[in-house]
């Protein structure tokens, strides 16, 4: 008996019939177009196994991860509750085993869901148009930067140093081959004043790029920055944390021109960093400069409402090297999960979720900030993350607490060399008061040991 799994159903008899129909003697004959000298020199892989053995193997592998860390870690990915309906409905095979809806009549399920998703993103961000998703928050930010260059025809970008450093790295990578000046404004922790950002805008600036709440957790009012950017002919690009949009004023209302973010928090598991989805939304006038797929409403021949992929002339399969982006596959299923998540919680439930995050983080901020040797650094309001300055190096503190089963937060030293004692702490709705209190006691213990 052959070990391993095969999903190939043809029987030996059927294979013989098929070869006869083709007019060849063997399957090997079908590979004759490949010159003999080009055949694989090696294919050294283990033999296969049944699904039962594979799952046992994978359970052992998953068991090598720490199973019971109490997490106060964010940094772009967040540990949120996921209503059970999200898994059940996105697990419908008609959704997850379908392909891109190029044939609209037999893909209305995906198309309508993505139209509803685009609507939800517009309403959350306060913008007019959204695409059907990008890869993740960081690549969405890079696409927004490129889009701003296209819209304005300019070649200079100003980015706030308080934007997630991992996302800034992605922006730098995306821009590296292009003739673009990227000006990074170093942040001053505790002084959430955008004066230095405003001062950096000039007549050559395509966009100023900020994050709200920023990497340190601070929530800012960017209305004045938007006004000054617009006065100089530049755009305001805002990277937003979607859960915060249940409580914090929308970027659209603050004057943003392009809004992006990572949708992981909306119904997608942490899954070691992916898949999640990136969202991007903008003003109607910029729709032709959006990257990626867009779903549009139309009618069929009987006048019934239906949905199609629209404005495809922007995309790579039509425009090739002149496309607005090279993106083809997006994160459709993750966007669907986001929509189901938002629908299941609904208008009031989503606002409550945001409020719960805010209240828990405020409680944690007061408890942790009250410890001796700990100072809260944020100079303005925060949402569900905040930055502490510790009496010890934050790397040491985090390493010490990990051994006690607590992931205390993201130490800033690796990203901001002069902030080695600082720690960004995240508190989502999943953390209990008891866990926060325990964390405080353990932090105190490590700080004063």
């Amino acid at each position: 008996m052959m070990s391993g799994t095969s999903y190939c159903p043809n029987t030996p008899e059927e294979i013989r019939e098929m070869l006869a129909s083709i007019g060849v003697a063997s399957v090997d004959d079908l590979f004759r177009p490949i010159p003999a000298g080009l055949r694989a020199r090696s294919f050294d892989l283990p033999e296969g196994m049944s699904e039962f053995e594979m799952l046992r193997h994978f359970q052992a592998l998953a068991g090598k991860n720490a199973q019971h860390l109490t997490s106060f870690v964010g940094g772009g990915f967040y540990d949120h509750l996921i209503p059970t309906v999200v898994d059940h409905l996105s697990g419908r095979a008609e959704f997850y085993t379908a392909y891109t809806p190029y044939q609209p009549e037999c893909s209305q399920g995906t198309l309508q869901a993505l139209f509803e998703y685009q609507t939800a993103i517009c309403r959350l961000t306060g913008m007019e148009v959204s695409n059907a998703s990008l890869y993740d928050g960081g690549t969405a930010l890079a696409e927004a930067a490129l889009m701003a260059l296209r819209v304005t025809g300019r070649s200079r970008l100003v980015i706030d140093g308080a934007v997630n450093p991992l996302h800034r790295e992605i922006v730098r990578t995306y821009l590296s081959g292009l003739d673009v000046e990227l000006v990074e404004i170093g942040p001053k922790l505790g002084m959430e004043d955008d004066a230095r950002l405003r001062a950096a805008i000039d007549d050559a600036t395509a966009a100023v790029i900020v994050q709200n709440p920023n990497f340190f957790g601070s929530v800012s009012d960017f209305r004045r920055l938007a006004e000054e950017a617009h006065a100089a002919g530049a755009l305001l690009v805002v990277s937003a944390y979607p859960v915060a949009l249940g409580l914090v004023e929308s970027p659209g209302a603050m004057g943003a021109d392009i809004v992006v973010g990572d949708g992981q928090s909306l119904g997608n598991p942490l899954s070691f960093g992916g898949p999640s989805f990136g969202f991007i939304a903008t003003r109607k006038g910029y729709i032709r400069n959006l990257p990626g797929r867009i779903i549009g409403e139309t009618v069929d021949r009987e006048g019934r409402r239906g949905f199609v992929l629209t404005l495809q002339a922007r995309e790579q399969h039509i425009k090739r090297h002149k496309a607005t982006s090279n993106i083809c596959s997006n994160q459709s299923l993750c966007a669907l999960r986001g929509l189901i998540f938002l629908s299941a919680l609904g208008r009031e439930g989503f606002a409550e979720l945001a409020r719960l995050n805010y209240d828990k983080a405020e409680y944690a901020k007061s408890v942790l900030g009250g410890l001796s040797g700990v100072e809260v650094m944020n100079g303005s309001a925060t949402f569900n993350e905040f930055t502490l300055c510790l009496r010890k190096n934050a790397d040491e503190v985090v390493a010490g607490l990990l051994k006690r089963g607590v992931a205390a937060g993201v130490p800033l030293g690796p990203y901001y060399p002069d902030m080695g004692n600082c720690l960004v702490v995240t508190v989502t709705e999943k953390r209990t008061r008891e866990e926060i209190d325990t964390f405080a006691r353990q932090l105190e213990g490590v700080l004063w040991s």
Partner: protein, 482 residues
């Protein structure tokens, strides 16, 4: 169907959250607080369940319909791989980046690293990064690696060469990195025109991007020569892995002379397409490109443990995505590779190629076959004969929908007029193919006898043909255009 927003009733609630166990804090300052709650649906949990269940029933999918969509490799998505991926759902990607954190993530790091090793062996490459999140993202990453290589050597390069049969992502990805594109036409025998290729190759060419077998489903017998010519100009060879399903265990791009490859885990390695994503596009490279790979890298120590190398490598192109790739997709693909193993993967290609040639042999008397030769995993017909009666490839596609088949890819590759591109994949049985062949032959017959009948198709779907011009003109992409 009604939109979820149209089912909304003010005050209706869905899923409830846990009660708060902390004091209510003072709110945000007025300037920062949202002035009006976002207009999300106000529906019950059952409303949500019915709505999305009924929406799903308006889709064709691999689990419900044969889906011979060329260039997309719509094979069966094993259910066991879904269970495998769920085992890794709770793990946070920042943990191994924390000081001392990698020992808490050995399972995830190990999986990513071992997947990379398996892909390196399958493709004949020296090292693999799993960071790219889709095929096109892998292409962009690969071209950035090539740009970094040339920059380090002081090479002055301006162009990337692609054949005209290439996927649109190839030139689009090269353009993202700042290169100009040179397109080489296809010769009458179905491969890139070698004479024209030699003409365009200069020392200013940075890379040549090839899909092999190409989008006509043909294996280019001159591929080695094409690689050699490129290397003579210190141009690197990029392998678009979209069609890797045809050659598993048969050919390794690295052995042939390719320097960079991306692999579409959602095509070749059986992970579901999700209605358009998520995909995953790991990139494999030869030794000379290893120093430029994206940060951070997962490394294996001599003691068998894994770690994240967070050092900023001077030569690295930097970070191309948030963390270590679309990990959930990677876990599914690794589960697939683990189950099939060496022999299973070879069987994949053999049966995929057999199925494609079988369909080709049974349809070429009724549809034009512009490149009539043994194909690999897919074959490309033209509806040219049917067009004479006014029946186009799109009409045949709509006919197929009414008969319960997802249509093949139509109008791609662009170099075949009225293209009908069929990729059956290895997971379909002869009975399924025979039934499809019968229906395709019926379409050809109907095109002869009653071509006007196609105009009204499809008739059996929730909607008939949709007005795409109107969608593009009105640009209504959000309910009530909020």
């Amino acid at each position: 169907m009604e939109l979820i927003y149209e089912q909304s009733r003010s005050g209706r609630r869905g899923v409830r959250l846990p009660a708060s166990d902390v004091p209510a804090a003072a709110g945000l300052p007025a300037a920062l607080a949202r002035s009006e709650a976002a207009l999300l649906p106000e529906v019950s949990e059952l409303d949500v369940v019915r709505h999305f269940t009924n929406l799903s029933r308006q889709n064709f999918s691999v689990d419900t319909h044969f889906y011979p969509l060329g260039s997309c490799t719509m094979k069966y998505n094993a259910k066991a791989i879904e269970e495998a991926a769920k085992l890794f759902a709770p793990f946070h990607p920042m943990v191994p980046l924390l000081p001392g954190g990698s020992s808490f993530s050995q399972g995830c790091l190990g999986l990513a690293h071992e997947l990379g090793s398996a892909l390196a062996e399958i493709t004949g490459m020296d090292e693999v990064t799993t960071q790219p999140l889709a095929g096109a993202h892998g292409e962009m990453t690969g071209i950035m690696l090539i740009a970094a290589y040339h920059k380090a050597k002081g090479n002055k390069k301006r162009y990337v060469v692609v054949p005209d049969s290439s996927h649109g992502t190839n030139p689009a990805s090269a353009a993202m990195v700042g290169y100009e594109i040179i397109t080489v036409p296809t010769a009458p025998y179905g491969d890139m025109d070698l004479d024209r290729y030699r003409e365009v190759m200069t020392d200013e060419v940075a890379a040549v991007m090839m899909t092999c077998p190409n989008t006509l489903g043909l294996f280019n017998p001159h591929i080695k020569e094409i690689c050699d010519i490129a290397h003579d100009h210190d141009a690197l060879m990029y392998y678009d892995g979209a069609n890797l399903n045809a050659i598993l265990g048969k050919v390794r791009p690295g052995d042939v002379g390719f320097d960079v490859i991306h692999v579409n885990l959602h095509k070749t390695f059986g992970t579901p397409h999700g209605g358009g994503g998520p995909g995953s596009g790991p990139v494999g490279v030869k030794k000379q490109l290893v120093p430029f790979l994206p940060d951070p890298r997962i490394v294996k120590h001599d003691d068998g443990s894994y770690a994240v190398d967070t050092a900023h490598h001077r030569a690295s192109i930097g970070r191309t995505a948030g963390f270590f790739g679309n990990f959930g997709v990677m876990a599914r693909a690794f589960a697939y590779i683990t189950m099939l193993g060496r022999q299973g993967l070879i069987e994949v290609s053999e049966q995929a190629v057999l199925n494609a040639n079988y369909v080709m042999s049974r349809l070429k008397d009724v549809y034009d076959l512009p490149y009539d030769q043994t194909c690999m995993h897919e074959c490309v017909f033209s509806a040219g004969r049917q067009v004479k009666n006014g029946v186009h490839a799109i009409d045949i596609a709509k006919f197929l929908i009414d008969r319960g088949y997802h249509p093949p890819t139509v109008y791609f590759p662009l170099i075949v007029k009225e293209a009908i591109m069929i990729e059956p994949t290895e997971t379909e049985s002869k009975e399924t193919l025979d039934a499809f062949i019968t229906v395709m032959r019926e379409a050809a017959e109907l095109a002869e006898k009653e071509p006007a009948a196609f105009a009204e198709m499809p008739k059996t779907m929730p909607v008939t043909r949709l007005d795409e011009t109107r969608a593009a003109r009105e640009q209504n992409v959000s309910y009530f255009g909020c």
